[in-house]
């Protein structure tokens, strides 16, 4: 067994016990990435030198008895939207082809301070404005997309490159690649983790969080990225609990909401069935399933897109004026649409969102978490990324993927996506999301970890051969 194949928990325990050197693990990680990168293209930039320097430092620190905790010496992929000091940060866009930040984003600062080792910058859909990541391929079938926008992070975890990679989630961009690549991905409560130094797509919908191979490291990394920071105006001053004691607990009496609408509409049957099978597993372990109605479901797409287009338009306004030709046609078109959104449309969308949040709050009176498919279907074809619901009903993959994730962003509620099965034809991973109450990340992590222990769906690497 190569070190990269070790689970996070195994590797972390061996490092703590000085049975595995962070340098060995990092070298194995870099080697694995190198093997699969020609097929996967998960990275914009590899940072071998930095990684080995950090790994050697970690090795020394641990040898000297200064073990910092379970993240110490663990390789990390960083989405290219996150600023990294002295390292190219392109947001997978020609607009920032030469951008080298002079400081780390707060998330990277916190994680490297906890001893993590940055192996490279992962591909994103340009400026996170899309859900397919066209630069990158899905390790489960390289003719398909890895989802997006954190597609490189999903792809490198699924192919064994790292056990943790950072994502950001504005319309599902952590949960979509997690679902499509068969990894775990958590989006915290809005305001929980500061976004300082991360390129914005839509400030009122943006969340930062990790994609991971298993649930435990999701809890650890999410906590390490969290905490009040006044430089992020959305940041909430709330203590960050340790969620690891929740892991592997019980779901006895946990009320799990099963949607009667929205999440089962224009969703592939085996996607829905896999989620319901997961719900049944949890029910068998003592959870109570409660049918719920999703409020204002018909307003989700228009509300999310109005807000996103307008806020992205504001963020990129100067660049769109100065160098429109450097954006891809797809993103330039979206930004131009954003320029045309009226202030009145924008506030009407903000108001609809407030009503939606109120409706969800009422819905949670009867449940602790909601369980639903993460996305409407598995990885879409890279050549033709669409879902065909009927002969005359074809939906682009970006719209389809984010449609089912967007309520999590509009409500700001914590949500985790976990693998719950595979397509019968082709064996592509299928994900389900567990969405919790505000600042109750512990609930969604606990439910996911109970499911993880009860099944063998979580933590599986794509059966990808090394490139010849």
């Amino acid at each position: 067994m190569e070190p990269y194949e070790l689970s996070f928990t195994e590797a972390s325990a061996m490092i703590a016990a000085k049975e595995l050197s962070p340098v060995e693990l990092t070298e194995s990680s870099l080697k694995r990435i190198g093997e699969v990168e020609p097929d996967i293209h998960a990275y914009v930039t590899m940072t071998e030198e930095l990684a080995l320097t950090q790994a050697r430092r970690a090795e020394k620190e641990i040898a000297a008895g200064n073990y910092k905790g379970p993240l110490h010496g663990i390789p990390l992929g960083v989405k290219d939207l996150y600023d990294t000091e002295g390292i190219l940060t392109t947001s997978s866009s020609e607009v920032r082809a030469g951008y080298v930040p002079d400081a780390d984003s707060v998330s990277v600062q916190k994680l490297t301070a906890a001893g993590m080792v940055v192996v490279g910058k992962t591909q994103t859909h340009e400026f996170a404005f899309g859900a397919t990541t066209p630069t990158t391929r899905n390790p489960w079938d390289t003719s398909t997309v890895p989802g997006g926008s954190s597609g490189g992070s999903g792809a490198t975890i699924a192919s064994g490159g790292v056990t943790v990679a950072l994502g950001s989630d504005t319309g599902g961009s952590i949960r979509i690649p997690a679902s499509v690549c068969g990894t775990v991905g958590i989006k915290p409560t809005y305001g929980r983790a500061p976004r300082v130094g991360v390129a914005s797509l839509s400030w009122s919908l943006d969340h930062v969080g990790p994609l991971t191979r298993n649930v435990r490291e999701a809890a650890l990394v999410m906590a390490a990225m969290s905490g009040y920071d006044r430089r992020d105006p959305a940041s909430v001053n709330k203590p960050v609990p340790d969620w690891t004691p929740d892991l592997g607990g019980s779901v006895k009496g946990t009320r799990i909401g099963i949607p009667k609408n929205f999440y089962n509409e224009r969703v592939q049957p085996e996607m829905w069935e896999a989620s319901m099978a997961a719900a049944n597993v949890l029910e068998g372990l003592g959870a109570e399933l409660v049918e719920v109605e999703i409020p204002l479901a018909d307003k989700v797409l228009s509300t999310a897109w109005t807000i996103m287009l307008a806020e992205a338009g504001a963020y990129h306004q100067e660049a769109l004026r100065a160098t429109p030709e450097l954006f891809t046609d797809e993103v330039r078109t979206l930004l131009e649409v954003g320029e045309g959104v009226l202030a009145t449309s924008y506030i009407n969308a903000l108001r609809t969102r407030t009503l939606m949040q109120q409706g969800w709050r009422d819905m949670y009176a009867d449940i602790d978490v909601l369980l639903a498919p993460t996305v409407p279907g598995p990885a879409a074809s890279a050549d033709d990324p669409v879902f065909e619901w009927a002969a005359d009903d074809i939906e682009g993959a970006t719209t389809a993927y984010s449609r089912v994730c967007a309520p999590g962003n509009l409500t700001g509620l914590p949500a985790i996506s976990m693998p719950v099965g595979y397509t019968a034809d082709g064996g592509l991973p299928l994900g389900a999301q567990v969405i919790g109450r505000p600042f109750r990340e512990g609930d969604v992590l606990r439910v996911a970890s109970v499911y993880e222990n009860a099944t063998d769906h979580i933590g599986t690497l794509a059966p990808l051969k090394a490139a010849s």
């Binding site: 006044r230 105006p233 109005t306 287009l309 307008a310 806020e311 338009g313 504001a314 306004q317 954003g338 320029e339 045309g340 959104v341 009226l342 202030a343 009145t344 449309s345 924008y346 506030i347 009407n348 108001r351 407030t354 009503l355 949040q357 109120q358």
Partner: protein, 472 residues
């Protein structure tokens, strides 16, 4: 005792004691107020609708309840009037316009319902500027300032200011989006509270700009304002933005736990006119004589926040009026039409730049109160301006921004504030000042203002009224 003379100018709390002690009945007090409205309001024009019959009926019910030993509290049997944007089932709610002149809402606004539940007698609906913006509708009467007809009456809760100052009710409700409780409070010499945003439900209150609108009391003393605020504040299932912070009885214990610290920004103060500065200096002297510590502080940029206010408001107003503007644009007056046109022309991107500055300003404002209990500001950017000066208010952004410097920024940040009289101009017209505090510090504001009013008599001065001229 008769409500015609001195009884009319008693504080709400004082007349409540007389009613509770059965020294005067609610019917007598209400009849007195209705008589005064007849005598004086033909000239002052503070009421859009007088609900005399239902008021007398409510007064009879109140008297019967009290006779049966069922006393509801200090509002029981007290004549109170509400701004004409509060929905009332028994009277039209026109919000200062002509389009809804026949609109009788199917339900009472939450604040009206709560006043009624507290036993208040609603005497009518008070005039206001069109849509609660800057100017009165050209086709409707403008209330007169009882201190002098050439003195600006204040906007937008003009009728609330006039009726309260002139003894045509014991308390009124106003609403404040850029200063609309505080400006008429200052101009008419009454006390008004603009509470924390979210403290009072807006359900059933006609909107000017949702995220800036605040409902609050206008009264003749801080204690009275506390009585009314206690009745109307609190969570409301019909308004998701009304927060569940518990509501104390703001008028019960007015003793300050400790001497509060007060901050004043002297650089900002230097930008106001001479009567305003003189008044503030006098207030500082009074506060220091009470033993309070007054500190020089630096406030965030109030002038730029005030300049941003019009656009912030405009976008929400345009959204609120989408059903009738531009389809019925000819029924709108120039000021409100100008505001809505401005809002319709703004892009979402421009609006976000405003929101971004709003967040920054609000964050800075909140931090001020980590170091200091209260901030002292004037009640308006101009000391008692004349009607002539204010004639172009609705269409002159500079005049508007200057007027709103001390008020609109507190709507932007949602900061609670109390406005009270603090002096007079050479013409003898009142000038007001504000004490503002951290979010949900209304108890401190009421107690502090009460302490000031216990040491001074500005709030006890009343205008001399001219009777309505009756043609013979």
């Amino acid at each position: 005792m008769s409500a015609g003379g001195e009884l009319a100018f008693l504080e709400l709390t004082e007349v409540a004691e007389l009613i509770r002690g059965r020294q005067v009945s609610s019917v007598e007090v209400t009849e007195g107020i209705l008589q005064r409205i007849e005598d004086f309001d033909g000239r002052l024009q503070s009421y859009a609708t007088v609900t005399g019959d239902s008021a007398l009926e409510a007064a009879r019910v109140a008297d019967a309840e009290m006779a049966a030993g069922n006393y509801r509290g200090p509002l029981h049997g007290i004549p109170v009037a509400v701004k004409d944007l509060c929905f009332t089932m028994d009277a039209p709610t026109a919000a200062g316009g002509t389009i809804r002149s026949d609109f009788v809402p199917p339900f009472d606004a939450t604040v009206v319902r709560r006043l009624k539940e507290a036993g208040a007698v609603i005497t009518g609906k008070l005039r206001m500027t069109e849509g609660a913006y800057a100017e009165h509708h050209p086709a409707l009467p403008t209330p007169l300032n009882p201190w002098g007809s050439d003195t600006w009456v204040g906007s937008s809760s003009s009728g609330s200011g006039v009726a309260t100052a002139a003894g045509l009710c014991y308390a009124s409700l106003g609403s404040d989006t850029g200063g609309s409780i505080r400006l008429p409070s200052a101009q008419n010499g009454v006390t008004g509270i603009k509470p924390t945003w979210g403290r009072v439900s807006r359900h059933g209150v006609f909107e000017l700009a949702e995220s800036l609108d605040h409902i609050g009391p206008m009264t003749r003393s801080a204690r009275d304002a506390g009585v009314v605020l206690s009745a109307i504040a609190g969570e409301d299932v019909h308004d998701p933005t009304a927060v569940s912070v518990p509501v104390p009885n703001y008028a019960e214990n007015l003793r300050l736990d400790r001497l509060p610290s007060v901050g004043i920004d002297w650089d900002l103060t230097a930008t106001f006119d001479e009567p305003t500065r003189t008044m503030l200096t006098g207030v500082v002297r009074t506060l220091e004589s009470l033993g309070w510590r007054v500190y020089s502080i630096e406030l965030p940029d109030f002038e730029n926040a005030s300049a941003d206010w019009e656009h912030m408001c405009a976008v929400e107003t345009a959204a609120a009026h989408a059903g009738t503007y531009p389809s019925r644009a000819s029924d709108y007056g120039p000021a409100l039409a100008h505001l809505i046109d401005t809002g319709l022309g703004l892009s979402a991107i421009e609006y976000q730049a405003l929101l971004s500055r709003r967040r920054a300003f609000t964050g800075r404002m909140k931090r001020i109160f980590q170091d200091i209990d209260l901030v002292l500001l004037p009640g308006a950017g101009l000391a008692s301006p004349t009607t002539a000066t204010m004639s172009s208010l609705g269409t002159s952004p500079e005049l508007l921004a200057g007027l709103l410097v001390p008020t609109a920024p507190l709507d932007i940040s949602g900061t609670p504030t109390i406005s009270l009289p603090g002096g007079f101009t050479e013409r003898g017209t009142p000038i007001g000042f504000q004490l503002c505090g951290g979010d949900f510090s209304e108890q401190l504001l009421v107690s502090a203002a009460h302490t000031f009013q216990s040491a001074t008599d500005f709030h006890e001065k009343h205008p001399e009224l001219e009777r309505t001229t009756v043609a013979v």
